[in-house]
Symmetry: C2
Subunit: 285 residues, 2 copies
Amino acid sequence: MSIKSDQWFSEIFGGTTAFSFLFSKKLYESKSHFQNIEVYETPALGRVLILDGCFMVTEADSFIYHEMLVHPAMATVGNAKKVLVIGGGDGGAVTEVVKYPDVESCTLCEIDPMVVEVCREFFPHVSSGLNDPRVTFVNEDGARFIQQFKGEFDVVLVDSTDPVGPGEVLFQEPFYLAVKESLRRGGAAVFQTESPLFMRDVFVKAVKGLDGTFGRDHAKPFLATIPSYPGALWSFTLCSEAFDPAHQKTRTLPPHLSTNLNYYNPEIHFSAFALPQFVRKMLAG
Amino acid sequence: MSIKSDQWFSEIFGGTTAFSFLFSKKLYESKSHFQNIEVYETPALGRVLILDGCFMVTEADSFIYHEMLVHPAMATVGNAKKVLVIGGGDGGAVTEVVKYPDVESCTLCEIDPMVVEVCREFFPHVSSGLNDPRVTFVNEDGARFIQQFKGEFDVVLVDSTDPVGPGEVLFQEPFYLAVKESLRRGGAAVFQTESPLFMRDVFVKAVKGLDGTFGRDHAKPFLATIPSYPGALWSFTLCSEAFDPAHQKTRTLPPHLSTNLNYYNPEIHFSAFALPQFVRKMLAG
């Protein structure tokens, strides 16, 4: 058994570690205006979406990422009606958002329309929410698009790629401030903030930047395990100007959700905010 | 950048996924009576111990495994005096155990003395607890060794390899029963029970077997993220005949511990028992 054959794909992280899968077929490869897009069929992970050589979606574990990006914020705010997703062209976040009957509109702002097209075709289950009549797709740069909104959204979900290429501006303070200003009072935003284990500096900088923007104790990182992402221990940061998001009483989940979700539940919600000692230390430093 | 050079090591899991690292040097390789032992120096993970091709210890993330194997049980039982570690020849579990001043004796029962020797030499920090005068090393088969003890230990820690080769008997019910009988009343045991994400069947069988042995609600799985292990989302199961281990009030950690640990803290303790929906469903089925 060797992974040196051409039937293996590897994401090499930092030139020093790699996560790889055997594939039965490469279903798609194309270069969009922004990035290289690949789709593989695999025995272990189902279908896999790779952007610029990095894992974005796998049918095996992306439910963890999408559920944890969406439900902690939705459950904390409660009765969210107007939601914006920035990035997230795979549709996975939107699919979780439209599970809430109270949502009246969900805007997906994705810079690369080819990602949306590819996911509609190859990940129909992940992207199914895109067909919901409450969803509008806007093909724009999220960092520019957000600037026109003041006090508008109940929930903003920043489903960015890594802070290189098109995702870079989504890790900068002018963008954090624009997101904060786009929220109505009582609203909340979530940012994916990378792995505290493998991307320590990016994680610390992002959390401190959000803390500076939203105010001390108003930006709280939480964790989940995403095996296909480098470092596996992944972070999101829940931000709200109006309250401390880690200590907000969450609303009861709609009954159909508590049985239909695969990762999130109310105990997971609170436990995700418990930070390991090494994460506490790096944020205190 | 390619991982196809000879300077990369890969653990291939199930023939379909792999986690790999670049190494600067192979420090050691030898075949013991039980397994093939390799030690690598790596830029990303520090030194790495590989047994029969599988990750056992990395300097970068094994603190998570060792702290979570040891501290939830030690904190739950409180004032443990007599501790047995089965497997765990790397010494990492023992090193955590001897951090408690109340511990009077810690026995390490490891079937393969070569693992202990190699870890003393190449992982002096991980294995430092082996030098504590309260520690006794016994070179025996843990499944046989445990049978002579009745009502003896406050805490038994089963630090097994995967359920193949020498580790196989440590996933069988006669062994679970022997561990239960070796505990004093009020004592607790922890078993590493593999990944619920990548080793679903082994995980479910182990938890159900422990539940059957210790009694319903007396065997509680808990989770931590170990990036170098297949599936990354790793499980342990805390068992006690005397109480429900997930709802036991934990004792206060000795003050030197709460600052010196790198993963475990009291909030992590309780949050680790929160199970994702998919894990709940597989255990309910």
